[in-house]
């Protein structure tokens, strides 16, 4: 009887409060999260096989399970709630009512490449020397101005930027691709465009256990990884202009304007902690996923 009472008390105990207003919640609807995407109002989490959970700002729910798995890591969501998943050598779309499979003609690329969806009719995905874009009938494959393996894509103002192997970042301005000087030759994994003069890139570091963070201020790329751990790589960067974060095995760090500062450490997260992996922002919250099936949230 005593044991049962203690067990019940333990079950209803609130989780210990985390520093800086963060709370940690098990994400039971999707096992082993791989990708995270936000719109202004919602957040979306996918796993390797393509299961997707949706957060509306208060509650999590699941999108209907697909009849065929959609293997990959990345996803994007358009403001009207269409969800796009990389799915092997194709794209899988949730249109609000059903899942649709889109093939990619002449595709050559690896999974774990960035997807963006500024609208449900304008969607981009990158591969080896090519970029896929939504058309009136499906997706088309176009030149990305390079032969290199690409894993990053962003819309910067009216221009499209892509990034990938060899320190490559290319800008498409008025039908012309131009290589930007990143001053590194290591792989650009992700590009995050917060504003035309506030663009961030996450790249490989000098060694396997380091990362490089670059910041575009409107005129040039500047190395901006001051304060990041020198022996632990960054898994993801994301957030908003006033709340930019880097996440990884070290926990969560926030950009102060001049340096990265610890906001949550692995010790803060405590037992059951898994490496933090992705971060994004809605209009009202910051969300972080880990690889073990947890989500961290904080009001902005």
């Amino acid at each position: 009887m005593i044991l049962a009472t203690l067990t019940l008390l333990a079950a209803v105990q609130p989780q210990p409060a985390l520093p800086n207003g963060w709370s940690l919640t098990p994400l039971t609807l999707v096992n082993a999260p791989e990708g995270l995407a936000c719109t202004a109002t919602h957040a979306y989490v996918r796993n390797w096989s393509g299961d997707v959970a949706v957060w509306d700002g208060a509650l999590w729910s699941s999108l209907p399970r697909q009849t065929e798995s959609a293997y990959g890591r990345t996803l994007a969501a358009s403001p009207d709630g269409h969800v796009f998943l990389e799915a092997g050598a194709g794209i899988r779309e949730w249109d609000g009512a059903t899942w649709r499979a889109h093939s990619l003609d002449r595709w050559d690329g690896d999974v774990d490449a960035q997807l963006i969806a500024p609208s449900a009719t304008e969607v981009y995905y990158v591969g080896n020397g090519r970029i896929a874009r939504r058309t009136t009938t499906g997706f088309g494959t176009y030149s990305a101005g390079t032969w290199r393996a690409l894993t990053a894509v962003a819309l910067v103002g009216d221009d499209l930027w892509v990034g990938g192997q060899g320190g490559t970042i290319l800008q498409l301005h008025q039908s012309t691709w131009t290589r930007l000087d990143t001053q590194i030759d290591r792989w650009i994994r992700r590009i995050l465009a917060l504003a035309p003069n506030d663009v961030w890139a996450l790249a490989d570091g000098e060694t396997y256990n380091r990362s490089t963070v670059l910041h575009w201020t409107g005129r040039s790329w500047l190395r901006s990884d001051q304060g990041l751990p020198e022996d632990i790589s960054v898994s993801g960067i994301g957030g908003a202009v006033d709340a930019l974060y880097a996440v990884g095995d070290f926990g969560l760090m926030r950009w102060s304007g001049t340096t990265w500062q610890p906001e949550l450490t692995s010790a803060d997260l405590g037992e059951g902690y898994h490496a933090l992996d992705e971060v994004c922002a809605t209009d009202r919250h910051i969300l972080v996923t880990d690889r073990g099936g947890h989500v961290l949230t904080r009001a902005r």
């Binding site: 092997g88 003609d105 595709w107 009719t121 101005g145 691709w177």
Partner: protein
């Protein structure tokens, strides 16, 4: 002491093998071929990933998505250890790795941009460039302007590709396939998926 029955012996042998195998069997993993500049193709082995010159004499040796045409391919020598599990360490092999390519009219030196993926220990010598007939992938269509709905792209053009620079080169050929058109290689994808999972574990 009695002799074990044949059935018990079989069970014991199976159990013994199951316990022993993990100590003598090692996992094997090779990444897929990398993306490579025009005039070269991707290769991979236990040693790593690299690009090699893709010379040719006629279009039909380049597959459906590339043409045999004059192209400049620049290489650097690298001493590459074979990699993989061996009883004895193998001596490094000297290989010529592609570091840059261009239309011959542009006269590139091979050091204008970061190279594709490389393997081994590069020698300090300057790149060696060679104008020859190489397989060069056909151009993909240009991305249409952003305004309005985008129509589907046209089918591949049978005409030779236009002159390009290293900064705006045609897309790479299907890595490593040599002479086949781009296809969805499910086996490669499955291997890649496995490798990705292992890397993240």
């Amino acid at each position: 002491m009695s002799t074990p029955s044949p059935r018990l012996s079989a069970i014991l042998v199976t159990l013994g093998a199951a316990l022993l195998l993990p100590t003598i069997v090692r996992a094997d993993a090779i990444s897929g071929p990398p993306a490579c500049p025009p005039g070269s193709r991707g290769r991979s082995s236990h040693a790593g990933q690299w690009c090699e010159p893709w010379t040719c004499t006629a279009d039909d040796t380049c597959g459906a998505a590339a043409k045999c045409r004059p192209w400049r391919v620049c290489t650097k020598a690298s001493d590459v250890e074979p990699g993989g599990m061996r009883a004895e360490p193998a001596p490094p092999m000297r290989m010529q790795l592609v570091v840059g390519t261009c239309d011959p009219a542009l006269g590139c030196r091979g050091d204008e941009e970061p190279p594709p993926l490389l393997v081994g220990k590069l020698l300090a010598d300057a790149p060696q460039c060679r104008d020859d007939r190489h397989c060069v992938a056909d151009d993909l269509p240009a991305l249409p302007p952003r305004t309005g709905d985008v129509a589907a792209p046209p089918p591949p053009s049978p005409s030779p590709p236009a002159t390009t620079t290293t900064g705006a080169a045609p897309a790479a050929p299907p890595p490593g396939c040599g002479c086949t058109s781009t296809t969805n290689n499910f086996a490669s994808l499955a291997l890649l998926a496995l490798l990705l999972r292992r890397r993240r574990a």
